[in-house]
């Protein structure tokens, strides 16, 4: 325990002016760093490194005690210090109010889609959610509040949580297949660059079953791009009047109907069809509609290696066929096949050129998160806008990100793992009845946005109108019109910020004391200066008041 003398010394130090000056300077320096971090790396990063970290909180706590001790030191009350006491009391009360808000306050968002009930407030904190859907079990765990990569090294049932990246970007990794494939199976993947003087885009396409991040077809504006097995490149060379091509994936051949010895028939409705005997079954192909056949009961058949399609279907609009190291397209009444390589190959559309950057017959591309320092530009993150967690299950590793939850089967048990925002469920429900947006005349700039909502509570429904600077207060919550999102159907969804602040009246009262105290302090000083001046007091004492 401190002796009285020690306590007195402690009180004099903590309540002293020099201590206060040092604290204020440290506090200011931290804030300056915080604002620059905010500007460069984003609000969340600044919060995780400065504003919501222990050192900053500790400085604030020390300031809090310094303010209290400074007042204690100047007791018993003196009339000329009334302003000073009021200022310090105001600051202490603001501090208490802020602490209450920090501990118990809620600050989140609620998204209202037109005519859909909503009762969930999305909070800013992230959590890891593990769900066993078949067993109806759900668990959640807080993620570390850090700005840097960290290892959780924590076990949960069959799962081990390893590295956590609060800011990450995906990079392409070319991986070896975990299972083997037969030689006839096409599991190739390729990376291309398509460019013209104005734009340039890299893209990867894959036929590998493990390349879940990549597709085998894509649309680039009006151009449809199809990624097909290498052996299919043959199918775009030989000409045939019918346009119909047979492709057998196992033996990798392409044939015309004549080569195949098959007859094209026409239905009463005018659709062309072919009937092929495969082992014991009869397959009916409608090549103008689909490359897959129907069986005798007219259900689509997927387990055949034969495809029949009409090449002419791809002659009407821009289609680019990629077969790994080869490509084919239709232009000026003929099909052109080209070899792709490091040198760009000209395409017949808008001056585009195509370059093959990488081709793999067995390895497959996979998106893997890497930690990055986030970068903010014009108010939003342009880099590092993804949180990622590595989950290990026995000898396998998986990445869970906030955009992409994973679903695993462990010993027949299904488990979903995802990084989500924490949610607070309201005891009442919102429905957005109407959203109104006014624009500045002759422009597309919103002048105001307003939500008309119905609130369903235990005491029945009620209608409310929420707009900028006119929030809805209900049951301790305050809902503000914050933002909006246009929907595809032309309607708008509205975002309200939802807020509970128990410290509000305390902070307001403290603020009032602070301002009144400051004025009072200067009035007293002024009066004293005047009386001292008449009594011809020295300037030095005035300055010390």
């Amino acid at each position: 325990m401190l002796s009285e003398k020690q306590f007195s010394k402690f009180e004099r130090t903590v309540g002293g002016l020099k201590f206060a000056v040092v604290l204020i300077l440290i506090f200011s320096a931290m804030m300056i760093v915080g604002t620059f971090f905010e500007s460069w790396y984003g609000t969340d990063f600044a919060n995780r490194v400065v504003y919501k970290k222990f050192p900053f909180m500790a400085v604030q706590a020390l300031m809090f005690f310094s303010i209290i001790f400074a007042a204690f030191l100047r007791l018993p009350p003196k009339k000329r210090l009334y302003g000073f006491y009021t200022i310090h009391a105001g600051l202490v009360i603001i501090g208490c109010g802020s602490l209450i808000t920090y501990i118990a306050g809620v600050d989140g968002n609620i998204m209202l889609h037109p005519n859909e009930p909503a009762r969930e407030i999305i909070l800013p904190d992230d959590e890891l959610r593990i769900t066993y859907p078949n067993e109806g079990r759900q668990f959640s765990r807080d993620l570390p509040y850090t700005a840097f990569k960290t290892s959780l090294d924590e076990k949960f049932e069959d799962l081990t949580f390893a590295d956590f990246y609060p800011y990450s970007e995906n990079k392409v990794i070319w991986k070896k297949s975990s299972s083997s494939f037969e030689s006839w199976q096409s599991v190739q993947s390729s990376e291309y660059m398509i460019s013209n003087p104005n734009v340039s885009q890299d893209f990867i396409m894959s036929l590998h079953p493990e390349a879940t991040d990549y597709k085998s077809s894509t649309q680039m504006g009006p151009l449809a791009v199809h990624y097909l097995p290498a052996s299919m490149s043959e199918c775009f060379g030989n000409a045939d009047k019918t346009g119909i091509v047979f492709w057998e994936s196992r033996s990798k051949y392409c044939k015309t109907p004549t080569d195949y010895g098959s007859e094209i028939k026409t239905t009463k409705a005018g659709n062309r069809f072919l009937v092929i005997r495969e082992n014991e079954r009869l397959l009916t192909f409608f090549p103008d509609l689909s490359p897959w056949p129907l069986d005798s009961s007219l259900t689509p058949v997927q387990d055949t290696t034969l495809r029949i399609f009409n090449r002419k279907l791809f002659e009407k609009s821009p289609n680019l066929f990629l077969f790994g190291k080869k490509a084919a397209y239709f232009t000026e009444d003929k099909w052109t096949a080209v070899e792709l390589g490091k040198d760009p190959v000209e395409l017949p559309w808008m001056g585009f050129e195509l370059t093959l950057l990488r081709h793999e017959d067995e390895k497959f591309p996979s998106q893997e998160p890497f930690y990055v320092t986030p970068i903010q530009s014009k108010g939003s993150l342009i880099k590092g806008n993804q949180k990622a967690l590595k989950v290990k299950v026995r000898d396998k590793e998986y990445w869970v990100t906030d955009d992409k939850p994973i679903s695993l089967l462990i010993d027949g048990k299904k488990v979903n793992i995802g990084i989500t925002k924490k949610v607070l469920t309201l005891p009442f429900e919102f429905v957005l009845k109407n959203f109104k947006m006014d624009k500045d005349p002759g422009t597309n700039n919103p002048a105001s946005y307003e939500s008309f909502v119905t609130l369903f509570t235990s005491s029945g429904p009620s209608s409310h109108h929420i707009y900028m600077n006119n929030p809805l207060k209900y049951s301790g919550f305050t809902f503000y019109q914050a933002s909006y999102t246009p929907n595809k159907d032309g309607s708008y969804s509205s975002t309200l910020s939802a807020n509970v602040d128990q410290g509000r009246p305390i902070k307001y009262f403290g603020s009032l004391l602070l301002v009144l105290g400051s004025i009072w302090h200067y009035v007293i000083t002024r009066k004293r200066k005047k009386s001292e001046a008449t009594a011809s007091m020295t300037n030095k004492k005035e300055a010390l008041a």
């Binding site: 000056v21 300056i32 905010e38 500007s39 002759g442 946005y449 600077n469 939802a498 010390l544």
Partner: protein, 521 residues
């Protein structure tokens, strides 16, 4: 369009004297147009546009209205030979455009190179000054094209079933012009004037206040008057002349600000231009009031000096502070707390600026002419007086800002850069004020520290918008500010570097321990 060309051909063929295109003249200045979400006179828009595009007030010898109107009529097939010149300052861009030593080119030349410019812009992956220069050139070019297509402004039209605002090619319908041609030899002018008449008949002529406002050029007058006031301080011994000019400056600025409020319909503190203007004005008023009660001539000087600097800024800062009146983002509208909070903060910045001018004056005067210890103590007292107002208003303003944020967003404090920097300013000044009671900050050290502390105000005021430019307050972002702020910091450091040592050598006598009283009690 084809129809219009035929129409022009017809009119011009049969009335060769009308070829003078004299409908594009300064008489159109009062024409109400809809542009940028507001109704304003053509004079205002044409002048602002020409200034933005060319950095000058005239184009190829033509007034802004003539040039703007002629370029707009290009969309109607009316040829003109007015050359719009774009200033190209960036070395790499000049090289790219093969301009040689010339620092300018015509917009027509830029238009010819538009595709190449866009390609070059796309090629720049990093945010360099070159990319910014390309971006600027392209934005101006886009505006040029928009004007050339007649799509930059809308005119009031009552010929249809309902009133409408139409772009020039839609507005100048064949039947309308032909009808006007029956009565006048200048049908285009008649049609344009009819639009003005129709608008005034339906909505009144309140918009014309902006025409008067723009033509009066009150900031130039205020600048001139402040300068005369400062000259009066130097050249005359009494207070009558400088006070006379100071009051006239206040009157001129009051008129200017009042008119601005009437036109925009909101408090005059919603963008950088207005805050600079208002802080100079409020600081001058504050200085005059304080000076009156303190019976101190120094306050007339400091008020006029700061006001002069602030009006200099709004007159000559170019693109950094835009005087254009434009609609506000929704969160800034109809908000009592916003108005009071910004007003309090801006007046506080004004008061702190007064202390900054006093501090620098003391430092420079001590270095050049020399000052006595008594004068130094007087300076300290004057600075302290300004600080008191500045700090109380700043603390109040920050709290009102919290109330506003709470009222508009539901949170009192969010570590947003603008609010954090205003708190940094308050903290740094509080550190100085608290330090003043310790042995650390003697009256002599107080002066250079105050000159230095004002840099935090500049950072909070301009730095957040021009350097940090993030967070909820980024709506004040514009260009060129970073250079201004950098120069400001540099000049202040140079002044401090030259003056501080000799100042402290002269006045900062180490006080003995018995003089130190940490405890104001």
């Amino acid at each position: 369009m084809k129809m219009m060309l035929t129409l022009f051909a017809l009119i011009f063929t049969f009335q060769s004297h009308a070829l003078s295109l004299d409908f594009c003249n300064d008489k159109l200045g009062g024409l109400p147009i809809q542009q940028g979400g507001r109704i304003k006179p053509l004079y205002v828009h044409a002048n602002e546009t020409v200034k933005y595009m060319t950095g000058k007030s005239k184009v190829d010898g033509h007034s802004a209205i003539e040039a703007y109107c002629l370029l707009s009529f290009d969309s109607m097939g009316v040829e003109n030979k007015v050359e719009w010149i774009a200033s190209i300052q960036h070395y790499d861009l000049r090289k790219f455009l093969e301009l040689g030593d010339k620092k300018e080119t015509t917009f027509e030349n830029l238009l010819k190179n538009k595709t190449e410019l866009i390609t070059e812009w796309r090629k720049q992956k990093e945010e360099t000054s070159y990319k910014k220069a390309l971006d600027q050139a392209l934005r101006r070019l886009q505006l040029y094209e928009e004007i050339k297509n007649g799509a930059n402004w809308k005119l009031y039209d009552k010929s249809g079933p309902a009133e409408a605002w139409l772009v020039l090619p839609e507005f100048l319908k064949e039947d309308k012009v032909l009808k006007a041609k029956e009565n006048t030899s200048n049908p285009f002018e008649a049609v344009l004037f009819q639009s003005e008449k129709d608008y005034i008949a339906d909505h009144g002529s309140k918009f014309k206040l902006e025409l008067t406002f723009a033509k009066l050029r009150l900031p130039v007058w205020a600048l001139f008057l402040s300068l005369l006031g400062l000259a009066g301080l130097v050249l005359t011994k009494g207070n009558a002349v400088p006070l006379g000019f100071a009051f006239t400056t206040v009157a001129v600025q009051t008129t200017y600000i009042t008119m601005r409020v009437m036109i925009s319909g909101r408090a005059p503190i919603t963008n950088m231009y207005e805050t600079v203007l208002f802080s100079g004005y409020a600081a001058l008023l504050l200085a005059l009031i304080v000076g009156h009660f303190k019976k101190d001539r120094q306050f007339i000087y400091v008020g006029l000096a700061y006001n002069f600097l602030s009006i200099m800024m709004i007159n000559f800062s170019g693109g950094m502070l835009s005087g254009s009146i434009s609609p506000l983002v929704p969160v800034l509208r109809d908000n009592f707390w916003l108005s009071t909070h910004v007003t309090a903060i801006i007046i506080s910045y004004g008061a702190l600026a007064l202390s900054w001018i006093l501090a620098n004056t003391a430092l420079i005067k001590a270095k050049t002419k020399g000052i006595s210890k008594q004068e130094m103590i007087e300076y300290t007292d004057q600075i302290y007086t300004c600080l008191k107002y500045g700090i109380v208003l700043l603390a109040g303003g920050i709290i009102l800002g919290g109330v506003w944020a709470d009222y508009s967003w539901g949170r009192f404090w969010g570590w947003d850069p603008k609010e954090t920097w205003s708190l940094i300013v308050l903290c740094l000044y509080m550190a100085i004020l608290h330090g003043k009671y310790t042995s650390w900050i003697s009256p002599a050290r107080f002066i250079p520290l105050n000159a230095l502390a004002f840099l935090s105000v500049m950072m909070a005021w301009f730095g957040v918008n021009y350097i940090l430019a993030s967070g909820l307050h980024s709506y004040g972002f514009s260009e060129g500010g970073a250079i201004f702020l950098g120069s400001f910091f540099l000049i202040q450091f140079i002044i401090l570097g030259i003056t501080t040592k000799s100042f402290l050598d002269q006045f900062d006598i180490k006080r003995s321990s018995d003089q130190i009283q940490e405890n104001p009690a």
